[in-house]
Each structure stands twice: as C-alpha cells, then as structure tokens.
Symmetry: C2
Subunit: 157 residues, 2 copies
DNA sequence: TCTGAAATTCATTCCTT
DNA sequence: AAGGAATGAATTTCAGA
C-alpha cells in the first residue's frame, strides 16, 4: 500500500538523502537523520516495501553514451482509437524515445528524444517519425537551455 | 574528461545494470557482467571519476510525497534579456517546478510541474505562475497518460 | 521502536598472472 | 587488465530496554 501515511519527518529526511545519494551507507544515512543503523535500515526497507522507494538508479552522462542531443517533439495523432493505439505501440520500439506523454488538448502527444547529434536526429525523423501512421503533424523543438534540472522530487520539510 | 572513449562492451553492461539497480553490490554486478569483483570495482570507480556515472538516486513514488499530479506548462516570455533572466531566476524559487527548458521556437519555455492535486495546481497557477513578470502566455497541459517512461538512457549493445 | 552487540556479507587493497 | 586472497567496513539479525 502506498499510503498508509505513517510517514514522519524522519522518513521524509531519509527520502531526501537517498534521492541525493542513492548509495549512502545505512550508517551514514542513519547519522544524517539522527538514528542508529538498525532502525534506519528498518525504515528504508519499509519504504521500499511500501513502494515509496521504487528503486535506485545510476545517473549516466548522456554525452558519454551517445545521447547528448535532446529534442522535444510535439505530435498530433488522428483522434481514433486504432490510430492512437498503433502509434503508441510503435513508440515502444524506438529506444531513442525516452519519454512519451499523451496530453489533453494540443499537442496530443509529447515525446522526449535523446540521440547523439543532429545528424542522428535527422535520420530518426525521416526514417521513423514521419513514417509513423496516423500522424497529422510533427513539430521538433530543440532545447536551447536547461533552466532547471530534475534532481528528484522536493520532499516536504 | 568525459570522452576518452576507452569504454568497451563490459563498461556499457555495467552502466545498463547500474541504471537498472543502482544499489547492486559489486559482487553481484561483477557476476552479471562476467568479471570478478576487483576489476569490476576498478571499472565502476573509473566511470565515476570520468563523470560517466554522475551519481546515484533513489526513485521516489510521486504520490507518496504529495506530488502525484503532473502538469506540463508552455510559457511565452517577452523576448528581451531582462525579462528572460528575471523569469528564469524566479523559476528556481518554485520547488513545484521540477524541470524547465528554454526552447528554440514556440513555446519559448516548457515547465514540468509536480503538485499534489488540481487544487494545489490552481493555487500555484494563480499565485505564482500568472504573477511572473514578462510573461505573455501560459498554457497548462494535463497528462492523460504516460505512454513511455524514462527508466534511464538506452546504453548501446 | 530504539539500542547495542554479534554474525555475516561486502568493499577494497595488494600482489600475482 | 584480470583474478584471488586478506582485511577492514558495512549490513543485517537478534536480544533486551
């Protein structure tokens, strides 16, 4: 269950610390939140079991794996069930599409794409995006600047 | 330096595994990529030093921390330096804004916002978004469906 | 629920190949 | 670069408050 809401300030501090450094040792974490290691570990395990902590990930430099060029793509899809389902299924098979959202209003769909460079993007665009069926519009937006980065969710307190 | 490109297939496998589970023990990781623990650890440390691995994070369930309602907001800002800089500085002080991008073309700016519910969003919108100076348009888009989720970057191989 | 100690597992170093 | 053994840390469990 995700919301038994027995989450107190210490739990929130644990979440904040682990969002910042997911490889903190239990001991170091315990010290930062004012516990000793056994209760601290019990809380962490509980948060994991409850699904509050969904997992841990290494954060990789996109440049280093040939994905330093990011594009946001607005797409309009024909508003019929067949078209939408086929389109969304097709997205699953394009690894360069790292996020995709269906929106209310316009655009109907927003993709976040990560490729090596503009050449790779051109190839992706001509070979895979424009060939998707049921699409009525594709609009590619290059990011000029990251104004604010996602370093995890703000955790109250 | 990020690209000395002495990265081989084993390194890419390490990155893939650590993206999937950032708390893998070196031993378990070593087994998965076909090494013993000492060379495996050397590689991980090297990747960290080179900045290929930028860090480790716990992934938190947004619902559990009162941020289950996500909105994408397109904003147009007056195209003058003062306005843009003031606007972008102001965004830094709104914790609900978890990502912000300045784009080429239109919209000039895209925000990703995470709040508890639509009521909280209404409050944010009226109190903090519409009051930002230099803004000519605000367009809020609610996510109907997450078609594809970011579980880290695809790592070749 | 916490503490503190005991048992086990892991990280890390060093030396050899 | 990789493997293996040694050691020092950290995790994890458990008894008691």
């Amino acid at each position: 269950m995700v919301n038994n809401c027995a989450m107190d300030q210490i739990d929130r501090n644990i979440l904040r610390e682990l969002q910042n450094d997911g490889r903190l040792t239990i001991q170091e974490l315990a010290q930062r939140v004012g516990l000793t290691s056994s209760p601290c570990m019990r809380r962490v395990r509980q948060l994991e079991q409850d699904g509050v902590i969904q997992g841990y990930r290494a954060v990789i430099d996109p440049e280093a794996v040939g994905r330093g060029f990011e594009v946001l793509v607005s797409i309009e899809v024909k508003r019929d069930r067949e078209a939408v389902e086929a389109f969304e299924a097709a997205l699953q098979d394009i690894p360069d599409v790292i996020e995709a959202y269906r929106l209310f209003g316009s655009p109907g769909c927003l993709l976040r794409i990560a490729v090596a460079d503009i050449t790779a993007y051109e190839r992706l665009w001509i070979e895979r995006l424009t060939t998707l069926s049921g699409i009525t519009e594709v609009n590619s937006q290059i990011i000029m600047k990251r104004i604010k980065e996602s370093r995890g969710l703000p955790v109250g307190g």
